[in-house]
Assembly symmetry: C2
Homo-oligomer: 424 residues x 2
C-alpha cells in the first residue's frame, strides 16, 4: 500500500517576515503522523494571491492532502478565502450555520458584532464548512473533483493555534481517517539526558547498524538532552510494536543511566511520575533560572500533587530574608557559590516542608560575569533529608539558553537523587 | 531596483515528523528582512537526497539566495553535505581550518574526539568554509558559477539555533550585504494589549484606508495582544522613517490606552522600562501561572534592577505560611477568590519589600473546575502603597493558553496602575 502524503502550508506575511513563530505546522504534522500520513513538505508563503495559487498547484502535484492555515482573519490583509475561490473556480456565499455561530459567539461575550465579523461567515460554495466552535474563522474542506488532482483533499483552517487544533481534532483527522486507507506507522522515543549525540552514537553504533530495514533511528538533540526516535513501518500494528520494543530492550542496557523517559514524556513529566511513584514532594529556590523550573513543573496537569511551590530569589535580600541564606555566606563566597546554593535548597525545603528541593544560582548573562565567575557559571543543588548535593556547571553566554539549560541540569540532579544515585 | 528574494529551507525528518519546533526560519527571515532581503518562501523537507535536490532546484528557480539549515550532524541520518556535493557536482575534502578548530573544541572541553567528530571537518571543495566558532558543524557558502542559476547564493548552516545564529551574524549577513545591492525596508510595530483585532480594525479603518501605497499595515494577534506592523519600502531611509513615523503619530490618538510599547518590546520589556523610568520595584505571588510571570520578567537582561523575586504558592499551605494569607479566607472564599488573591499580592509585597506586587490565582485546568468556578476562572491582583486592585477574568479550558494569557492580563493590570489608571 503506497503511503498517503501530505503537505502543510502556512499563509501569512507575518510568518515570512518572521514576526510570529509558526507552531502550527509542527503540531499538525505530529497529528498526521499518528494516523500514518507522511508529511513530505512544509511551506510558508505570504498573503499574495499569485504566491498562494503557485504553492497550491505545487503541493497538489506532490501530495494527496494539502492542509492550509492562516489568512482567514477579518482584516483586509487576509485573502485566503478569495484565493481558494479562484483556485477552485468558486464563489463566496454566506453559510447560515457559520453566521448563527458567530452571532451567538458575540452575544455570549456581550461584545458588539461588526460587519467584518459577519463576513467571517462567508465560505466558498463548493467546500464543506467545518464548524469552528472556538473562534469566528471557518474551517473549509475541499475535494478536488476533476483534473490531475482529482480526489485530492484541501483543508483551510485559521492560523490561531487553539482554533486550528480544535478543527484538526474534531473535524479534519476524523474525516481523513474515513477518506484514506492509511498504513501503520509506529514511533517509540527513548529520552536521554546528560550525554552528547556523538558519544551516544558511538555507544550504540553496532546496535544501530543491526536494525532491520523497516525500523529507522533518528537522533533529536536539545538542551542537554538527546531523543532517540525509532520509527517502524508495517502492516500489522501488534507485530510492529513488538519488533520496535525488542530493539528498545536491546539498546537500553547500553544507555540505561541516561534514560529518563519515553515518547512524549518531557523531563518535567517524567519527574512528576517519579515523584508520584515514590510519593515525594518538591520545591525550588530559583535565582538565575528565574521561575522557569517552577513553570516547567507547573505546566504539567496535576503537578499540584507533588509540586508545593518555589521562591524566585532574584535579590540577595530575598535569599537572606525568605530563604534564610546567611548574609556572611553571600559576603564571603558570593551569591553564585556552592555554599549559597546549598543554603538556598535547604532553606526552601524547610520553608515549604517538602521531601526534596532544588536550587539554582548562576550568571545567566549577557552581563554580570567576572574573571573568577564568567557569564554561564552555574551552581545547582538538591536537598533531601540528611543530604544536600551541589554541582558546578559551565554554560554558554546566551541568557535564554542558560535559563533553559540550567533548569534542565538542576532537574536532572533531582532525578538522579530520586533514583538513589548520589555520585554521578 | 528589483527586490532581492530569499528562500529559507530547513532539512530534517525531525521537523517534518513534528518532533522539534523550527525556530530558525523565523529568526533568519527577520535578519534578512532587516537588510532589505525579502523572504518569499519557507520550506522544510526530510533527510532524503531526492527531496533535498528537488527543493534546491525549485528554490533556485524562484530566489536569489537559498539559506539551508540542518542535516549537518555527525550521525548517519544527516546527509546535507553529501547532497550538496551532488547538486554542485563536487566532492568532500578535509578543511584544515575546520579540523584545527574541532580538535581545539574537544581539547578545551577535555572530551574525547571521535572519528565522527573528525568527519565534521569535511566540506565540499567548491564552497567557501564559514568558520563556526560555537560548534563542530561547518558553515558553507556556495556561489552558483554556471547555468540558469548563475550568481545565485546557497548557504548551508547547522540546525542548532545558536550555531546558526552565530554564523548568520558573523559570516552570512556581512557577506550578503557585500554581494547584493539591497533596497530600503523599514518596519515600525505598535504593540497593543486588551483589545480585539476586529475592534481595533474598525477604530482605525479610515486611517488604514488613507495609508500611502508604499506603506503597508498588518495585524499580528497573540494572547490578548495585537501588534500593528507598518512596513514602508523606498529609496531613502530617513524619508521613509519620517513617513512611517507620521502615520504612527496619526493613529496613536485613536488607540493610545491600549498601546504598551513598540517594535521588539514585549510586554515584559516595556514593563521593565516603565518600572525603571519610575524607579519602582516589583514582586509576584503566582498560583495558577506557576512561575511564568517570574520567567517573563527575568528573561529580560538587567531585570534584577526592578524584579526582586516571587513566591510560587501552589499549595495553600504556602499561601498561608509564606504569603500570610488568612486560613479562614481560603476556607470561606476558596483559593481562587478576590479576597485570597488580594492577600497574596499584599503578602508578597510586604515579604519582598517592593513598590508593586502582582498575584494570580485561578483554575488553569484541564481539571479542577466547579460549577461556580469553572476551568479558566482567574483572579488577578496588583498591590501598591495604600491600594490593591483585583480583577476577575474568564479564560479558556486549555492549560498552556491560560498560563500565558493569565500572566499577560496580570502584567497589564500592573501596567495600568503604573500609569495611574485605576479604573479600566
Amino acid at each position: 500500500m503506497r503511503p498517503i502524503l501530505a503537505e502543510v502550508v502556512t499563509i501569512g506575511d507575518e510568518i515570512l517576515y518572521g514576526q510570529i513563530t509558526d507552531t502550527n505546522t509542527q503540531w499538525m504534522s505530529t497529528q498526521l503522523d499518528k494516523i500514518g500520513i507522511k508529511t513530505v513538505r512544509k511551506s510558508s508563503v505570504g498573503d499574495q494571491e499569485d504566491k498562494i495559487l503557485q504553492i497550491l498547484e505545487e503541493a497538489e502535484s506532490r501530495a494527496d492532502i494539502i492542509l492550509l492555515t492562516g489568512g482567514l482573519g477579518p482584516t483586509k490583509d487576509d485573502i485566503t478565502k478569495k484565493t481558494l475561490c479562484k483556485y477552485f473556480d468558486d464563489e463566496l456565499i454566506i453559510n447560515e450555520d457559520a453566521l448563527g455561530f458567530i452571532t451567538e459567539f458575540f452575544t455570549k461575550r456581550g461584545r458588539p458584532m461588526t460587519e467584518l465579523n459577519r463576513q467571517q461567515a462567508m465560505v466558498p460554495k463548493k467546500c464543506i464548512y467545518l464548524a469552528n466552535k472556538t473562534g469566528t474563522a471557518p474551517g473549509m474542506w475541499f475535494e478536488k473533483s476533476m483534473g490531475s488532482g482529482k480526489g485530492k483533499i484541501f483543508v483551510s483552517m485559521p492560523g490561531v493555534p487553539h482554533e486550528m487544533k480544535y478543527l484538526m481534532a474534531n473535524e479534519v483527522i476524523p474525516r481523513l481517517k474515513k477518506y484514506f486507507e492509511t498504513p501503520i506507522i509506529y514511533h517509540k522515543m527513548i529520552r536521554t539526558i546528560g550525554v552528547g549525540e556523538s558519544f551516544l552514537a558511538e555507544k550504540i553504533e553496532k546496535w544501530e547498524d543491526s536494525l532491520p530495514a523497516h525500523i529507522k533511528l533518528a537522533y533529536l538533540p536539545s538542551f542537554g538532552q538527546v531523543r532517540l526516535r525509532l520509527t517502524g513501518m508495517g502492516e500489522n500494528e501488534e507485530t510492529l510494536k513488538q519488533e520496535v520494543q525488542n530493539e528498545v530492550d536491546k539498546v537500553l542496557p547500553m544507555i540505561q543511566s541516561f534514560v529518563f523517559g519515553y515518547d512524549d514524556d518531557d523531563l518535567e513529566v517524567a519527574l512528576g511520575k517519579l515523584l508520584k511513584s515514590k510519593n515525594k514532594t518538591i520545591s525550588a529556590a530559583e535565582s538565575c533560572t528565574g521561575g522557569f523550573i517552577s513553570h516547567l513543573f507547573t505546566k504539567v496537569p496535576g503537578s499540584s500533587a507533588y509540586f508545593m511551590g518555589s521562591v524566585v530569589s532574584y535579590a540577595n535580600a530575598v535569599k537572606i530574608n525568605v530563604l534564610g541564606v546567611k548574609p556572611e555566606t553571600i559576603e564571603n563566597h558570593g551569591a553564585v557559590s556552592e555554599e549559597t546554593v546549598m543554603q538556598m535548597a535547604e532553606g526552601v525545603r524547610a520553608l515549604m516542608k517538602t521531601d526534596f528541593a532544588i536550587a539554582t544560582s548562576g550568571v545567566a548573562g549577557p552581563d554580570g560575569g567576572t574573571p573568577e565567575k564568567p557569564v554561564g557559571t552555574l551552581w545547582i543543588a538538591c536537598a533531601m533529608e540528611g543530604r544536600t548535593i551541589a554541582r558546578k556547571v559551565q554554560m554558554s553566554n546566551q541568557r535564554e539558553t542558560n535559563i533553559n539549560y540550567g533548569s534542565v541540569v538542576a532537574m536532572n540532579l533531582l532525578r538522579k537523587m530520586l533514583n538513589g544515585d548520589y555520585e554521578s
